[in-house]
């Protein structure tokens, strides 16, 4: 009987270490990626006001994929692609977050536009173009997809095509 003791101790330690490691697993930080507005990097955080006057932070939406669309009411290709976003939002709005960032316009103009077309997705106001500049959105429209971990996984200059975002989001919707 006495000879079995060391084995019991070793086994106990192994189990303990395994449990410890398993317990620690969620606390192990994800590999840190540098912050940069480019595919493969962590999306820079920002805070903007939506049309209802609420402050919205990008980091509020960790855990869900986020689609950022930079647009303006006077930009024809932006106007042209908004129905695609509305459709996507209506179908999968529960599984991802759509933030349509209006560049350089005031609340009244954007609100009137959004109400006229009956868009229900969340519109953020970037009147000073500050977030647009951080994200390099000098040419609009521009669309980005940020995965649930906050990493930019997709960037599109110009209008998105129907179904294109469905394909991108499919991999990230949990």
């Amino acid at each position: 009987m006495r000879t079995r003791w060391p084995w019991a101790i070793i086994l106990g330690m192994l189990i303990g270490v395994t449990l410890l490691l398993a317990g620690c697993r969620p606390d192990v930080p994800a590999p840190v990626r540098p912050i940069k507005a480019e595919v493969g990097y962590s999306a820079p955080d920002f805070q903007l006001t939506d049309l209802n006057g609420r402050q919205v932070r990008l980091s509020d939406f960790r855990g869900k994929p986020v689609v950022l669309n930079f647009w303006a009411t006077w930009c024809p290709p932006c106007r042209q692609e908004l129905p695609i976003f509305q459709d996507l939002h209506a179908r999968r709005g529960d599984a991802f977050v759509l933030l349509a960032i209006s560049e350089g316009e005031n609340r009244e103009d954007v609100l009137a536009f959004v109400q006229h077309y009956g868009y229900t997705f969340r519109v953020l106001l970037d009147p000073q173009l500050s977030v647009g500049r951080t994200y390099g959105a000098r040419a609009i429209p521009m669309t980005m997809v940020i995965d649930p971990d906050g990493v930019i996984v997709y960037l599109r200059q110009g209008t998105v095509k129907t179904g294109e975002l469905d394909l991108v989001l499919r991999d990230y919707i949990r």
Binding site: C78, L129, G158
Partner: protein
């Protein structure tokens, strides 16, 4: 003195001032800083 010159000068000064007070410079800025891809013929 040419009256037309002074009338025009004050009219345009007034227009500039009024436009600035109405915050038009902001619209000029946003439009000039953003590039709409179809507007410059790319898309």
């Amino acid at each position: 003195m040419d009256k037309r010159f002074w009338v025009l000068l004050s009219l345009f000064l007034l227009m500039t001032a009024a436009g600035l007070l109405l915050g038009e410079a902001r619209f000029v800025f946003a439009n000039a800083s953003l590039i709409c891809l179809s507007c410059i013929g790319i898309q």
